[in-house]
């Protein structure tokens, strides 16, 4: 912890970065994203297993870009998101300055290549509970799955916390905000909710870094992350590549192989 603060202060003092984005203690001991721009603000930084938010979300926001270069305290999921953002040309490689923990050491990862190397050291598989839930759903009949999602999605109010908390949902103009044509009904009724979540998951297939932020962000506890996890897994299984593992990978759904194997096209 002290090492992290030390490094953060060093970066700020040297003027290498304008802010350090990390975590601080919030309401009732939860962890919240925290922008440290002064040494005093750095002192509020914490990093422990309660820190969950994917901070990469902030790096594509106008307000944050205006700050200048930002160092980010990066969990593995944040690192994956950054790689994917660079791969999608949303961030420049030299805009990266990650602070990652390696045991008790703080490592500064200054480029996509460094992040790739660091990430390669660890595996960060999908949480067991989520994996089990996906398997449980796939073991159901189609009708049961339909009923399950209808039940879950009926709580959705379309606050877009899932979209806005997602590091990969950086579009200036989201499909949900397009009304010529109105692809998805704006209203949060059964149709609007189903189609919104279907579009969101589909737009994240091959791009989801499986951080699960959308599911955590949902105020009414809908496991929306299972949808994007599933879409990502489907892509990975069928096309053999995962999002967030390299700055050089093309988006799986904007490329192809002539021998892509499918079974259902007649």
């Amino acid at each position: 912890m002290e090492a992290l603060k030390q490094k953060a202060k060093e970066l700020l003092q040297k003027g290498d970065v304008k802010a350090v984005l990390g975590y601080a203690v919030g309401t009732g001991n939860v962890r919240r994203p925290h922008f440290a721009r002064t040494p005093e603000q750095v002192d509020r930084l914490v990093l422990d297993e309660k820190c969950t938010q994917n901070l990469a979300t902030y790096l594509t926001k106008h307000e944050v870009k205006h700050l200048g270069k930002v160092a980010v305290v990066a969990l593995p999921a944040t690192q994956r998101a950054l790689l994917q953002l660079v791969a999608e040309r949303q961030l420049r490689d030299d805009a990266i300055c990650l602070l990652a923990m390696d045991g008790t050491e703080v490592k500064v990862l200054p480029s996509g290549a460094a992040v790739e190397q660091h990430l390669a050291l660890k595996t960060d598989a999908m949480p067991t509970a989520d994996k089990a839930m996906i398997e449980k759903l796939m073991a159901m009949t189609r009708e049961q799955r339909w009923a399950y999602w209808q039940q879950e999605l009926s709580r959705c109010v379309k606050c877009y916390a899932c979209r806005n908390s997602c590091p990969m949902c950086y579009c200036e103009h989201c499909t949900m905000d397009c009304n010529r044509p109105q692809w998805v009904p704006v209203a949060s009724h059964a149709l609007g909710n189903l189609e919104y979540h279907m579009v969101r998951a589909m737009h994240l297939a091959g791009r989801c870094v499986e951080c699960g932020e959308c599911g955590r962000a949902c105020p009414v506890g809908i496991p929306v992350h299972l949808l994007t996890f599933f879409a990502e897994e489907s892509t990975a299984k069928q096309f053999g590549q995962r999002a967030g593992h390299s700055t050089k990978l093309d988006y799986a759904l904007s490329t192809f192989k002539p021998d892509d194997k499918e079974t259902f096209i007649r």
Binding site: A187, Q238, F256, D260
Partner: protein, 145 residues
């Protein structure tokens, strides 16, 4: 009730192969069921999954998506791109409990007039058996106070 049900089927087809194939069906005077509304787009690469969604949203009981056989795309690779997206989308639909029996993906070339007729007949019979897509239609009124 079921006897009077005539399925409404929307077909998204590419201009160069399947549309031409369907045209050939007509000029060859092959009879087939008339439940399909054909929507022609330049290439299967243009058939965004949201179009399929829209078809169901607007009351289709079934959807056909069809274009050039692999390696035959007029634009070289549109159908390959489309195929990847269909592969994921079909999986996702199934995961969300949407009835994938109501979507048929196929390749029909400009020379396969008879194949088009056969495809439409099979799909129409299949959807007629499945009945109206009541589940999806019910969404339109659920959740409005």
């Amino acid at each position: 009730m079921t006897e009077s049900f005539e399925p409404k089927i929307t077909a998204f087809v590419c201009n160069w192969c399947t549309y031409a194939g369907a045209d050939l069906t007509g000029t060859s005077r092959i009879n087939y069921q008339s439940n399909v509304r054909v929507l022609r787009v330049p290439c299967t690469g243009r058939i965004d999954f949201m179009l399929l969604m829209k078809a169901f949203q607007k009351g289709s009981d079934g959807v056909i998506v069809s274009g050039c056989h692999p390696n035959d795309c007029h634009y070289t690779s549109g159908n390959y791109h489309a195929r990847r997206r269909w592969m994921v989308y079909k999986d996702l639909m199934d995961f969300m409990g949407v009835d994938t029996n109501r979507v048929t993906f196929s390749w029909v070339s400009a020379a396969e007039g008879a194949r088009w007729a056969q495809l439409v007949n099979e799909v129409t019979d299949n959807i007629r058996n499945l009945g109206p897509y009541a589940e999806y239609k019910a969404l339109a009124v659920a959740g409005i106070e």
